[in-house]
Each structure stands twice: as C-alpha cells, then as structure tokens.
Symmetry: C2
Subunit: 258 residues, 2 copies
Amino acid sequence: MAGTDQTQTPRTGGPAIILIEPQMGENIGTAARAMLNCGLTDLRLVRPRDGWPNPRAVPTASGADAVLDQVRVFERTEDAIAGLTAVYATTARLRDQLKPVVTPRRAAEEMRAHHAVGTNCGILFGPERAGMTNDDVALADAVVNVPLNPAFSSLNLAQAVLLVSYEWFTAGDATPERQLSYEDDTPPATKDQLVNMFEHLEQALDARGFFRVPEKRPSMQRNIRAFLQRAQLSTQEVRTLHGIIVALSGLRKESGGE
Amino acid sequence: MAGTDQTQTPRTGGPAIILIEPQMGENIGTAARAMLNCGLTDLRLVRPRDGWPNPRAVPTASGADAVLDQVRVFERTEDAIAGLTAVYATTARLRDQLKPVVTPRRAAEEMRAHHAVGTNCGILFGPERAGMTNDDVALADAVVNVPLNPAFSSLNLAQAVLLVSYEWFTAGDATPERQLSYEDDTPPATKDQLVNMFEHLEQALDARGFFRVPEKRPSMQRNIRAFLQRAQLSTQEVRTLHGIIVALSGLRKESGGE
C-alpha cells in the first residue's frame, strides 16, 4: 500500500497529466506551463529519458513552478495511475483494442463528472515520436483523439497537453461567451437617452433638408435608428454624438435635450 | 485598388491569422503548424522583425509548407485586414475602448457564420511580449480573450494561435463526441447473443453452487448482467466469455449454445 498512497492523495488541481517516457526536458516544461494555464498542477512522469529534475524544463515552464515542484516520477505506468478511477490515453491509432474514442471536449465533461463525486482522473501521453505502446493504451478506459485536419494532424506533445487541459478548464468555466464591459462612469445608454439623441439628429437632418422625399422619411429614419441601436452606445458615446450633430449642423436639440 | 486585390482573393482555408510584428521566426513556424493542424492556411505578417522569408520558421513548421509558401507581408495592419469583413483582436487587456469581448468558442461560431455567407474574417495577434497597440485593437470588431487560470494566464504566441484555430476547426467538425468502433469482422453483440451468454454463465454458476441464498438470486443475476451489459461487448468478446466459462467450470451451455 505504501507505493500507492502518494497517488491517492486528494488533489484539487483537476486530472493528472501523465507523460510516458518524455524525451525532451523542454517539452516537459512547456507542458507544465500549458497545464498551469488551465489550472492543472498534477504532473507525473513515467521513466523520463533524462531523469528528474531536469534543468531544461525550467525556462520553457515560464514560471509554472507550482507544477514542476510537485512532479512525481514512476517506473511503471501502472504505478502512475494507481489511485485514479478513470484514465484516458491520447493516441491517434487504436490497434486491436475495442475502446471508446472520445473528443477532448467529451473527455473533459466526463472527467468533470468524476471530480464532482470526488474521484480522480488522469490522461496518458506517449513519447514524442514513438507514441504509446499497446500495453499502456490497454490501461486506459477510453482513448482521447483530437479532431484535426486529417491531412496534417500531428501535434507536438505540449500542444496536445494544452488542448486537453484547455477543454478541462473550459468545461468548468463560467465566462460569458460574449460581453460588452461598460465602465462604471459611463454605463450603457438608456432607451430615453437614445431616443433623445435620435430626435436631435432627425431635427438637424430636417433643418438641412436631408429627407427630400417625405414618403421615404419613415423607413430612412428606422434604418438610421437601427444601426445606431446596433452600436450598443454608452452614455458617454451618446453625449459625443450630440456634440457631433451640433458640430456638423450648428443646431442644438429644440426641446428635451440633455 | 491594386493594393487590396490580394486580400480580397476568396480563401477556402478559413479565417486569416495576422501576426503583428512577430519577433521570433520559430514562433511563426510553430503558429503555421498549429494553423494547418486546424485547416487554416492564410497567414499574414505585419512588419515581421527579421523580414520574410525567415529560415528559422521552417523547422518548427514541421512541414506546414502549404501555410509558409502563401504567407503575405504587410507594412500596416490596415492593409493586412483590407478585404475582411470581421476582425478579432487577441488581447488580455482592453484599455479605454468599449468593445465586445468574446471567448474563442464564440468567435469561432461568429466567424463560421460569416464564412457561411462567403465573407472573410481575420484574427490579430500582437508581438510576443509587448502585446497589441491600442490603435491595432481599435481596428477590430471584437476582442477574443481566452478564459484561463487567472493566476497564470500568459500563453505563448503559437499556443494562442493554436487555441483560436482549434476552436475554429471544432466548430465545423462533425466527429461524434464518443464512439466505439467495432471491427467489421467482429460487430457489436446482439441482445440474443448476450442473453445466451448470460444463461451459460448462470447455468455454470448454478452447477457450482454460486447462488447459495435463493431469494438473492434474482438481484445478483441482474447485477452481473448489468456490468456485462455496460461492457458493450463485441460478438468476438461474447465468444471469448463462453470460452472462459467453459475453461473455469468445465460446463458447456445446456441448450441453445453459441
């Protein structure tokens, strides 16, 4: 049991990233950086070619010390995954094994479900060139395959770690997909401020004879109001527009106004 | 018009990736590789520090010649975006500008909508360290901000290109999120093949006295059938299980059989 205790320590940093026989220290560092970018901290190495610690990993980690300082090294993949309840293997080919193949997005959802009930997951990455052995793939519950341009699908190790980690982070992230962040001192314009500005503009255009064909006036007015509405103006921008109208026409708004 | 003609050439490769003042040729190559991984081919450079072509980009591009060979170089960002109808700026900070901020996933959906009607989009990336200038950000319709670990959110240039390009690819990709690919010569087992195997197992267990408490037999049988169902067995795997039951018990199935 002593050998598995360390892998059963609860982790708050999401799934473990397990690099099997990584060759280049630089790649380990870049992978560590990508992990911490995505909030992952549990990096495990199986038989790293150049041993561990590896000074070549430090510059490319760009300060991801929280990951590098906690790296654990294992002799066998079986030991590296001992305390986990779900393991994914990242490999392009599945040879002679019937295993579910999932996208990184789906893997992230499944791992979030495991973590929600307090169990721990891991993702296996094979050596840079050779890829994973059949025996290591056999240890996994499912294979993660990144959908990419079929004519040019080879990712480097750190990029593969980044994409899988990014999907993990995104699956738990609540950032609004699209937002417009108005400043406190210039919030979004209210509808009465907008209508007031529309009327100022239309009075100035009337005064300058812009609406030459009376029957076209209503639709022209709607079209102008439409693009000004699409701009999602702030209060300050409405004030700026009043200033532009005055500057171009010399006419202040007749009634109401600011 | 001669100056903008080249940017108005229809492109099938998705949005343009526009690197403003990229410093390191290696990063340009890595970005080109990430682009082609995701099916993008239109790479534009604005004032690359070391000129173009740059031999240092070739090794890190790992064969993404389809991208490197078509690179176009511009003196001004305004020229690089001339033929485009929607432009996104990748920057962490939005200073004194009121602009929509979108996730890479949302940007990908919006760009897919533009491409569906035949118009072209582009994504601006600033220099490695300095980031984009306010004037370049001002050229964009919206800002793309990658949600990442707020305590460690700095991505390198090629990783940022990869994530944005990956979301573009994924938004148009139809790969099933989870699939189990049975071989042609050993398709998924049919329910009658499964029930036949369950009965073989239960006969063998009965013969060996496994079900000692008769009233528990139904629920035990259901539980065993449940985990065997979850395994989503192939026809070959059902045959293997028949063989295992015979090997362990010495008993063939009494009636029916395989």
